[in-house]
């Protein structure tokens, strides 16, 4: 177990380093300099040079990269020797090119938004999607099943931007049933937090429910055809117990792992949902930062997204070993 974890963490770290190098390299290759974006209207070659020096863009990419990595672990000092010198303590991810805000501050503001969206939606889609799928598998061929299939097919063929926008028009703009989505920290006011996020939850939750319903239904049907389910019946167990104990346990395992990976990937940013509902989460922050060539933010958000995925993978592996005694972590 310990050996497994150590190895996986090491591989994860190597992956993250590779990703940071790729992102760094990518933006170094971009033809236009972020300094130009920043230096505004009074921009001449000299001002660009000034800004570039200030941002550290004049140094070779390898130096920039090592400084960046050093900043994460031990902190670094910017613009040393000038009036604008400042110390950035570890974990230092640099400052936004655009408005000089510390990237860690930006992350601490945007990450909770994305987490709130994803967690709420995930609870919805897991509860609704999985139970819908399970029940329709058990009632295969019934009207309920057909209805569930229809709904989940429609949902799975729908796009977030379409569904979300139509909900906005129906529930917010036209009828005013819901306020326009907004983010209030949970710690500040849980009721407002929930109220402001209902729409993204419903949107993401419904669409993913559709996918999870299809998935769970197929899983459950497959499990019901397993020999051990037949064995359980042959023992004389009541059907209810066969389904809830023997079949459910086996059917839900792969869904838990898929859900873990999905949630991990979503935490990296649900850009479209965030954009549609005007919520400034990790995804929106990242895409905007790319537009402004805001390298410190891009590198940080991409790395964070990758961390989420790597960690989710790790958790899923461990979880799998916990659920399924056949899997050994070695």
């Amino acid at each position: 177990m310990v050996r497994f974890l150590t190895r996986r963490v090491l591989v994860g770290v190597v992956t993250l380093i590779a990703i940071s190098i790729i992102v760094f390299g990518l933006f170094f290759a971009v033809p236009s300099s972020p300094a130009k974006v920043m230096c505004g209207k009074n921009c001449d070659a000299a001002s660009i040079a000034q800004v570039e020096t200030r941002l550290g863009l004049r140094e070779p990419i390898v130096t920039q990269y090592t400084k960046f990595m050093k900043g994460i672990f031990v902190g670094r000092t910017y613009a040393d020797g000038t009036a604008f010198e400042r110390r950035c303590d570890a974990p230092c991810l640099g400052y936004s090119f655009r408005n000089d805000e510390a990237v860690t501050t930006i992350l601490s503001r945007t990450v909770p938004v994305t987490i709130s969206i994803v967690i709420g939606a995930a609870i919805l889609w897991l509860l609704i999607g999985v139970s819908l799928g399970m029940v329709s598998a058990l009632r295969r061929g019934t009207l309920f099943d057909k209805l569930a299939i229809g709904i989940s097919l429609t949902g799975a063929s729908m796009q977030v931007f379409f569904f979300g926008l139509i909900l906005l028009f129906l529930l917010v703009y036209t009828t005013g049933l819901l306020p326009f989505p907004s983010y209030t920290p949970f710690t500040e006011n849980p009721a407002k937090w929930a109220q402001g996020l209902i729409l993204p939850w419903v949107t993401l939750g419904f669409l993913n429910s559709a996918i999870y319903a299809r998935l769970s239904r197929a899983q459950m049907l497959e499990t019901l055809s397993e020999d051990f389910v037949r064995t359980a019946r042959a023992k004389g167990l009541p059907l209810r117990r066969v389904y809830t104990k023997h079949a459910l346990r086996a059917a839900i395992t792969p869904i838990v792992t898929i859900a873990g990976l999905d949630i991990g990937a979503s935490l990296g940013g649900t850009f479209i949902t965030e954009t549609i509902f005007g919520l400034r989460g990790l995804g929106k922050e990242t895409v905007e930062a790319v537009g402004f060539l805001n390298l410190p933010i891009v590198v940080a958000t991409v790395l964070l997204a990758a961390v989420f995925i790597v960690v989710a993978n790790l958790i899923v592996d461990v979880l799998y070993a916990v659920i399924d005694p056949r899997v050994r972590l070695s």
Binding site: T15, F161, F169, S225, T286, V287
Partner: protein
């Protein structure tokens, strides 16, 4: 995850828990430990069986016909242009009011403009739609095929090679999966374009299309690769591979002549389900301004543009929205049917 590696084997005929495992060898002298009815379809190849099943599947038929019609329309878009005498980029700004909204009823629908006009540019929606569909379908199909090809190649190599090569490929897969696709696309597309074309060169529409296809493929081969790798690992110990190896067949022969024919079914299913996913993703690219560029008509961009008009000119939103919904739904249904037909153990 478990169970993704379903091997396309001889189909059992029922799915109510009776099938058991099914063996491939059919000439055993005595009763093999297999399901009772497994050999009901003696003498038909899995492909023929799948075809039979598909032909019987009403949903599959309806969605296949729908798709066929849409694909034919898309392919015939130049003919439609000739027949109607309206080019997709031709502006009819004179038929727009002061707010650049189409004059007349229902988004400017009339005998000339059957589906009305786009607000703003005043282009014929029908022509934009058919040409746009052509672009989107081209991207989705091409990307799905390229992704599958890459995935199959890498998957087979990884599964067959074992050792460090397998480890390395696995790591690359993990890396790819952990890499945010959107950021990559955003960053890479302008860079590549700048490197390939001078500042005054018109970047041909096809180039952006190729870039999008390449980007899609670059991030979508992993699933196929994992699938194929798993299949190859499972199959490589099987008798027929052993036999081929013993008979002195070279690796390439074993890989592509012996293994590939046995794993094409899940690959086909993945491919068929990738197409609608790409259609949707292509539309999402328009959201971040890296989709297909004007003036090439494109369904994804059209949807992105039209969504904003859902309250002002719902007809404009309706047509591309309905088209993409039908396309994706039909593809999903067909993909499902295909999976059911090819892998009888899975159930709808």
């Amino acid at each position: 995850m478990r169970k993704t590696d379903s091997t396309p084997e001889l189909p059992a005929t029922t799915t109510d828990g009776m099938g058991g495992t099914v063996a491939l060898e059919v000439n055993s002298p005595v009763d093999a430990p297999v399901g009772e009815k497994a050999k009901a379809f003696v003498g038909r190849s899995p492909g023929q069986l799948a075809w039979l099943r598909l032909k019987r599947d009403r949903t599959a038929k309806v969605s296949a016909i729908t798709l066929l019609v849409l694909v034919v329309i898309a392919l015939l878009s130049p003919v439609i242009e000739k027949l109607r005498g309206i080019a997709p980029t031709q502006p009819f700004t004179d038929k727009l009011n002061d707010y650049a909204m189409p004059l007349g009823y229902a988004g400017g629908m009339n005998g000339t403009h059957w589906l009305g006009l786009e607000p703003g540019n005043g282009r014929d929606i029908l022509m934009q739609l058919v040409y746009g569909m052509r672009t989107s379908l081209l991207i989705a199909f091409a990307a799905a095929i390229v992704a599958s090809a890459i995935g199959v190649l890498i998957g087979i190599v990884a599964g067959y090679a074992r050792g460090w090569l397998d480890t390395a490929i696995n790591w690359v897969i993990d890396l790819t999966l952990a890499f945010p696709f959107l950021i990559f696309a955003l960053a890479i597309i302008p860079i590549v374009e700048d490197n390939f074309y001078g500042e005054r060169d018109a970047i041909p529409a096809s180039f952006r299309v190729i870039l999008i296809i390449a980007t899609f493929a670059l991030f979508s081969w992993t699933y196929t690769a994992r699938l194929v790798r798993g299949q190859v690992i499972a199959l490589r110990e099987r008798e027929f591979v052993e036999a081929a190896r013993a008979a002195g067949a070279n690796t390439g022969h074993i890989l592509f002549r012996q293994l590939l024919p046995n794993i094409w079914a899940p690959i086909l299913v993945t491919l068929s389900l990738n197409v609608p996913a790409f259609i949707t993703t292509e539309a999402a690219l328009a959201f971040v301004n890296i989709g297909v560029i004007e003036p090439t008509p494109d369904l994804g961009r059209m949807i992105f543009n039209s969504i904003q008009y859902v309250a002002s000119d719902p007809w404009y939103t309706l047509w591309p929205g309905l088209t993409i919904f039908i396309l994706v739904l039909a593809f999903n249904l067909l993909g499902d049917s295909l999976r059911d037909a090819l892998d009888p153990k899975s159930t709808r």
